[in-house]
Symmetry: none
Subunit: 258 residues, 2 copies
């Protein structure tokens, strides 16, 4: 299906949409097709975390079918954390059932939420072809996007997953009447602020011995991250919580100590 | 994105959906990916008109990622007319503007019409990668399906076009809730548990001096209560947080103390 109007700059009207973050993508062909699907839907902010075959990738250019401008602007990262630092609302696209307490939304709902979100930049994290997202990446996200599919055959190609969500976003090209969180005189915390909070808390808990059982540490810190993600903290609340941690860790109940 | 439940036959519930007719498809890879997208969305009736590289096609099997049952059942035709003889409602998927007087519908609208159509079988005709559908093929269809896309970059990969329309069809029969909180093996905390947590935290903060400014204490503790309310904590998480408070308050960073 074509019909491109070559008098129109492909980048017209783009820039407001969510970032697409591909974690551990394997096949250049899929990265190229994902870039093509993004530009089809007016998205241009592609971020790659550890692409298996290096970057740039010849095969990606080939399957992008002209969406080179997306590939050329793609940013490269070593860690998922670094790829989302400037974002405020982050979704993880995954179908697997996991032991995580997290809100799950459909692509349609996520698209409406992203359209209605005016307090910062947003993004969607996708896992690689072989393994999908790991639990630590999912714990970085505010919510999970799960696409309804044939339960007996629900393995979706990476670029197809990008397309379905991107297209739901594109379709809603109108001002969504939002039912936002009431947030006077403040703003949602950025991921950088949240990750700073997580690391502060985990450091204090390392010191206090709470995380001393080594094999339990990853799941324990994931659980804590997930519960704080769900609270949709503001920047002010992050500062408050850091004060709480410092206060408890340095001055806590010293009278009870020997 | 995976999550296939292998106890479920992929063909369960399929059979009622529209046929997908690919006219002059070129790349086996795209036929395979189209078959995969079809089965993702519960469609199984694939019909091929003059596939360029013959049939069966090794490359199609490779990219179908397990949707071989769709490829194996695919029917082969010499003419588009022959491929739609048994159908009653036929759409042509195309984005090109043509000199034809024909109703144009979105994928969403087409999906609803197909779901509501009880007077016979339906199908959707897609053109090949290079040229799309010709006017004679379009003239065989009742209506045109045009997908809303970036007008400056609207060339959609063949398998992506199949996916978008197939998924609109699938969504209409899905009892998938738009949003829900995933909560494995646990339950939301009761208010008693929450209040216990609040009082534990506030007591520890009284001891540590964090809440020592008397006139600020009420608003500070209200802010903390609000943020933990928003997290929709489970009973297990309340216990974890109480452990965190105890650990920080009694054992926190004692090395830094005098």
């Amino acid at each position: 299906m074509s019909g491109t109007d070559h008098r129109i700059d492909p980048l017209t009207g783009t820039g407001a949409g969510p970032a697409v973050i591909l974690v551990d993508p394997q096949l250049g062909e899929n990265i190229g097709m994902a870039a093509r699907a993004m530009l089809n839907c007016g998205l241009t902010d592609l971020r790659l975390v550890r692409p298996r075959d290096g970057w740039p990738n010849e095969k990606a250019s080939r399957t992008s079918a002209g969406a080179d401008m997306v590939l050329e602007r793609a940013q490269l990262f070593e860690r998922t954390e670094d790829a989302i630092l400037d974002l405020t609302l982050v979704y993880a696209a995954t179908a697997r059932t996991r032991d995580m307490i997290k809100v799950i939304v459909s692509p349609t709902k996520a698209a409406a939420e992203i359209r209605g979100f005016k307090s910062g930049a947003s993004g969607i994290i996708f896992g690689g072809e072989a393994m999908g997202l790991n639990n630590d990446d999912i714990a970085l996200a505010d919510k999970i996007i799960t696409t309804p599919l044939n339960p007996g055959f629900s393995s979706l190609n990476l670029s197809q997953a990008v397309l379905l969500i991107a297209h739901e976003w594109f379709k809603l090209d109108s001002d969504f009447a939002d039912s936002n969180l009431q947030m006077p005189d403040t703003r949602p915390a950025t991921k950088q602020e949240l990750i700073g909070l997580f690391e502060h808390l985990e450091g204090a808990l390392d010191d206090s011995g709470f995380l001393h059982i080594k094999e339990k540490r990853p799941i324990m810190s994931r659980n804590l991250r997930n519960l704080f993600q769900r609270a949709q903290l503001t920047d002010q609340e992050v500062r408050t919580l850091r004060g709480v941690i410092t206060s408890l860790a340095y001055h806590g109940n010293s009278s009870k100590k020997s």
